[in-house]
């Protein structure tokens, strides 16, 4: 009995493992090999040599690399935190129960409509916002003017460019966070709230001692997914600022792409890609740790 169960486990696991080995670990292994060589695509006659850790040293001493790490962390943390906040508020609104336990009508309608931005492809979001926020042809500045808000050349101003990208990411991905949190809210047992009402809890107490603790696993999923996604941000930046002005919005993905495919330093690009992978792994592990210590289980 036990034996056949174990064999079926192996059988279940095998396809996923094989797939991952072929499409994930083999390219990564090739990348690792690449990072110790001196391959440059624009110098095909260069003798291929083993250069040890030289690529790593040159990347780690590159100011552009550290700048891109900082940019990525700013975009990643700012947009994850804000998306979580807005997503939580929206999910709570959509899940709201009225005075008599009856939900206000039409919430499914709102949920469906609010989810639409997330379904647009990122490159299209970038292009849309690039033209929408254009200082000559775009509608954004006239609309802001209508409400008396400041107008800028959003994507070309070195102070606002990075926040424009954060705003774009929030605009697109808050619905996704909202959906994850809303599905988490659905799983909370209503009898907990009834018990709390019997004990005389007010809405803040209900929120802080029932909703938040019960949401923690879902929040963990949301934060780690969002953070990993935002760390890989590429399409929206390429469609709008291309890393500019200067290198103010050059995230690590853009930096690596430029290094590998515009300056044709293939080996160095591979090295940078490996370092990014390590960075994202570390970040996601931090997120997992932070959320699981508070879970107490």
């Amino acid at each position: 009995m036990f034996r056949s169960r174990r064999r079926s486990f192996v059988f279940f696991l095998l396809p996923a493992l094989l797939l991952i080995i072929f499409i994930q670990f083999m390219p990564m292994g090739y990348n690792l090999v690449l990072s110790f060589l001196n391959i440059q695509l624009n110098k095909p006659n260069l003798p291929v040599k083993f250069v040890g850790l030289q690529n790593y040293f040159s990347i780690l001493s590159d100011k552009g690399f550290w700048n891109s790490v900082v940019v990525t962390l700013i975009i990643g943390i700012a947009s994850t935190v804000l998306e979580l906040l807005f997503g939580l508020i929206l999910a709570l609104l959509l899940d709201m129960k009225g005075r008599f336990g009856k939900a206000p009508g039409g919430m499914g309608f709102f949920r469906g409509l609010l989810f639409i931005p997330y379904m647009i492809m990122p490159i299209m979001v970038g292009l849309t916002w690039f033209i929408f926020a254009d200082s000559n042809y775009g509608m954004l500045n006239p609309i802001l003017e209508m409400f008396g808000l400041p107008t800028r050349v959003w994507f070309s101003n070195e102070k606002t460019a990075i926040w424009a990208i954060v705003a774009m990411d929030i605009w697109q991905c808050t619905p996704m966070v909202m959906m994850i949190i809303a599905s988490g809210l659905k799983t909370i047992d209503a009898s907990l709230y009834e018990a709390a009402v019997v004990d005389g809890a007010n809405s803040w107490q209900k929120f802080s001692s029932i909703t938040m603790p019960m949401l923690k696993p879902v929040l963990k999923v949301a934060v780690s997914m969002r953070l990993m996604d935002v760390m890989r941000i590429y399409d929206t930046i390429i469609a709008t600022t291309k890393g500019g002005p200067g290198n103010k919005t050059e995230a690590i993905s853009v930096f690596t792409q430029k290094l590998g495919f515009e300056q044709f330093k293939t080996s160095q690009g591979g090295t940078a890609a490996l370092l990014i992978t390590i960075l994202i792994l570390v970040m996601s592990q931090i997120v997992v740790r932070v959320f699981s210590t508070k879970e107490s289980t």
């Binding site: 696991l13 996923a16 509608m139």
Partner: protein, 131 residues
């Protein structure tokens, strides 16, 4: 009288916030749709305007009949269906193992799978475990 006003307020304020959010998220999208209905000369103007003055379907006609975009849709569909099917099937199988087996070895395997498949594994396996 004051009580009914309060009641109406409690009813209405969530919708109010939701409508503001909807407006923010839909302003660019609707603008794109409006631009697609404008004649070519009206799309990029200084100063810009939001709603089309004259409506034309010329761009849609050009897109669908003058240049053939069906292979593009077919490509996207193929990629989407194939990758969804593969990652759901394989991911579910693997997630089942991670959720049901009590050995530590499987957690070790699940830790070294930082992959697109894993993003579907981790929610599914936590879902199965909580049951």
């Amino acid at each position: 009288m004051e009580k009914t006003a309060k009641k109406i307020f409690y009813r209405v304020w969530p919708y109010f916030i939701l409508i503001i959010c909807l407006t923010v998220s839909f302003t660019p999208i609707v603008w794109v749709v409006c631009s697609s209905l404008k004649p070519a000369g009206d799309i990029l103007t200084i100063p810009p305007f939001y709603f089309p003055k004259t409506i034309t379907l010329q761009h849609y006609y050009d897109l669908f009949f003058k240049r053939d975009i069906s292979p593009v849709f077919l490509n996207s569909l193929t990629i989407a269906l194939a990758s969804t099917a593969i990652s759901i099937v394989f991911g579910t199988l693997a997630a089942y193992v991670f959720a049901r087996s009590k050995r530590n070895r499987s957690t070790a395997i699940s830790a070294i799978l930082p992959s697109p498949i894993r993003t579907s594994i981790s929610p599914i396996s936590s879902r199965l475990r909580s049951k």
